[in-house]
């Protein structure tokens, strides 16, 4: 039983109850319309997306908590520890706090762009969750070119960042937006090239097929170790975390491109950041670490465990590395990562030609 059938069962049961009430009251036409297959399908998809969003939300909240605690340990202190068990509800308290904050728009901002930039940012971050399956039975949509879709949606965010940075009418946010655009051209190509090796070995862009190919042979981290390292470096740049957080460099630009965003927008942008962190870690797991395959436990649990382990690596990088300078990131992207990605691609071609995969 997959997610669709499960949700359909629940929706049909609820619609059955409502129909019984409607029939009892006397609205027979409305009851018949509600029971038609199209409406049931629509409600099922709605329910499915709610489930997916809820899971993404819980994972993002847990990731913020994990980051707070782990970063605390990296710095020899305790993270959040007062609200809830081991400080788990601190994020929810922070969310409520941002909800109560005043809603300020800068006087000279470009209002339309200023208001729509976070919508694009958050919308694209949530759209990422659609293409990421938790397991072979727990997915929203099984796209044929799912990997391509994920990276296409990932690449929308620099556009939103540039838009928000320009619209805020603030020098710091403008510099942040420009940096985001400059960063995009340096990491995007090594990222996609490191991914091509995996696609070559599995012979498909469908995420389910990639995971099945790994279950049949071995995890792709073993033949594609260089690719995995390149992917991790590039995904840190993609989700704009600390070694590559140029658009929101706290020490240089006040808060980067979201300097002027306050209140719940700030909270949602922060949450979107962790949605993207979840998506990045999930893609790393799906491509290189065998996806949801694993013994004993249910596949969804295995997948989430692996995601949290990969996210721990991101936190670890954040805790130990310093921010890369603006001119250095192009050097890293084009002079170091691109040749390595080429080498990695050649390795993948050799393995495929020898017929080992």
């Amino acid at each position: 039983m997959d997610l669709y059938q499960f949700t359909e069962g629940i929706v049909s049961w609820l619609v059955g109850i409502v129909n019984w009430i409607l029939n009892w009251v006397g609205f027979h036409g409305l009851a018949g319309w509600l029971g038609s297959p199209d409406i049931i399908k629509f409600l099922t998809l709605l329910g499915e997306s709610i489930v997916l969003l809820a899971i993404g939300f819980i994972v993002a909240i847990t990731m913020i908590w994990q980051e707070r605690k782990t970063l605390g340990r990296l710095m020899d202190r305790r993270g959040a520890m007062v609200v809830g068990p081991a400080g788990y509800f601190q994020n929810i308290a922070d969310g409520l706090k941002t909800l109560l904050k005043e809603y300020i728009i800068p006087e000279k901002a470009d209002k339309t762009a200023y208001n729509w930039a976070p919508v694009i940012m958050i919308g694209s971050s949530i759209l990422l969750l659609v293409a990421i399956p938790l397991s072979g039975r727990f997915y929203m949509s099984d796209l044929n070119a799912g990997l391509l879709f994920i990276f296409a949606v990932f690449s929308i965010t620099p556009f939103a960042i540039l838009m928000g940075g320009w619209a805020s009418n603030n020098k710091y946010s403008l510099i942040g937006g420009m940096r985001s655009a400059a960063q995009l051209i340096s990491y995007e190509i090594p990222l996609l090239l490191s991914m091509v090796g995996v696609v070559l070995l599995s012979g498909s862009l469908n995420i389910g097929d990639i995971v099945n190919a790994q279950a049949e042979s071995t995890w792709f981290i073993i033949p594609q170790l260089i690719g995995f390292i390149i992917f991790m470096v590039a995904i840190v740049a993609e989700v704009e975390r600390i070694p590559f957080d140029l658009p929101e460099a706290e020490a240089e630009l006040v808060e980067g491109w979201w300097t002027e965003y306050g209140g719940m927008r700030f909270g949602l942008l922060m949450l979107a950041e962790y949605f993207r962190g979840y998506a990045g870690a999930a893609v790393a797991v799906l491509l290189f670490l065998g996806g949801w395959s694993g013994p004993f436990l249910p596949p969804e649990i295995w997948f989430l465990i692996k995601v949290f382990i990969v996210f721990f690596i991101l936190i670890w990088l954040r805790g130990s590395l310093m921010r890369v300078r603006v001119d250095q990131i192009l050097n890293i992207g084009w002079k170091r990562l691109l040749p390595l990605a080429m080498v990695n691609l050649v390795i993948a071609v050799v393995f495929k030609t020898l017929g080992w995969f």
């Binding site: 782990t70 605390g72 340990r73 990296l74 710095m75 020899d76 202190r77 305790r78 670890w316 990088l317 805790g319 130990s320 590395l321 310093m322």
Partner: protein, 244 residues
């Protein structure tokens, strides 16, 4: 070899920039996870204070004679004498401290002749207004414990010649008031103001109308050198004489 050394200093490379910091933080994480992190959980547990910790100044009310030396010595000028009703002596002037200005130097405790000012180990002094930070003599009171007083480490040149390292407590070696006989009009204000009763009026003779001439006599063993008589003299007949 020399080339490598230069590289490690100028450009640490992949090892220095990435691998070594990652190793260091991982080690730290493991240590902090197995043992406790170094953080002190402040509201629940507190740092153990050293024995001679100097927190806010405190006052032992029974000992205070209201001489005002603390007010005079205070570098930030946060001490002021206010008049209160003392149960033994009636109206008295005692120190009131503005803790918003106090910098916890402990000079008031150091120079207090009766060791009535003490330093207490209290450091949680947050208040909701500036007015609350001004501690009147009653709020300033603190229970005395040996070790709260601060001993003066100032040594006079004359004592140093004798081989002393620290000023001996109770020794008369303080600045003392001197009387200029011609200026004195015998008003006895110095005797009234003196907190220790060191100044007493004594008759020294009779003037041409047959009335007694009174002049203050100072008992230097009682005098603490607070200069209140000098300040209150209407004719500037008293001056402080420095004792070295």
């Amino acid at each position: 070899m020399a080339k490598e050394a230069k590289r490690s200093r100028k450009n640490p490379g992949l090892t220095g920039y990435v691998l070594r910091p990652m190793y260091a933080t991982l080690k730290e994480t493991i240590r902090a996870t197995l043992h406790r992190p170094n953080t002190v959980l402040y509201p629940w547990e507190k740092v153990e204070l050293p024995e001679n910790y100097r927190g806010r100044p405190g006052l032992v009310m029974e000992r205070c004679i209201g001489c005002g030396i603390c007010m005079r010595i205070c570098p930030t000028g946060c001490i002021e004498l206010v008049e209160i009703e003392d149960k033994d002596h009636g109206k008295m002037r005692k120190p009131q401290v503005n803790l918003g200005r106090c910098m916890m130097c402990g000079y008031c405790a150091e120079y207090c002749p009766k060791k009535a000012m003490i330093v207490t180990p209290e450091y949680e002094l947050a208040a909701s207004s500036r007015q609350d930070l001004i501690y009147d003599p009653y709020e300033l009171q603190h229970k005395y414990k040996p070790g709260y007083e601060v001993h003066i480490v100032e040594v006079l040149p004359s004592e140093l010649k004798r081989g002393a390292v620290e000023r001996e407590p109770g020794r008369e070696g303080k600045d003392r008031p001197e009387l200029d006989d011609k200026k004195c009009i015998g008003c006895a204000r110095c005797a009234k103001i003196c907190p220790t009763g060191a100044a007493e009026m004594g008759q020294v003779g009779v003037n041409e109308k047959g009335k007694p001439i009174k002049r203050p006599k100072f008992d230097y063993s009682k005098c603490v050198g607070c200069e209140q008589c000098v300040e209150n003299c209407p004719r500037d007949a008293l001056t402080m004489k420095e004792v070295l």
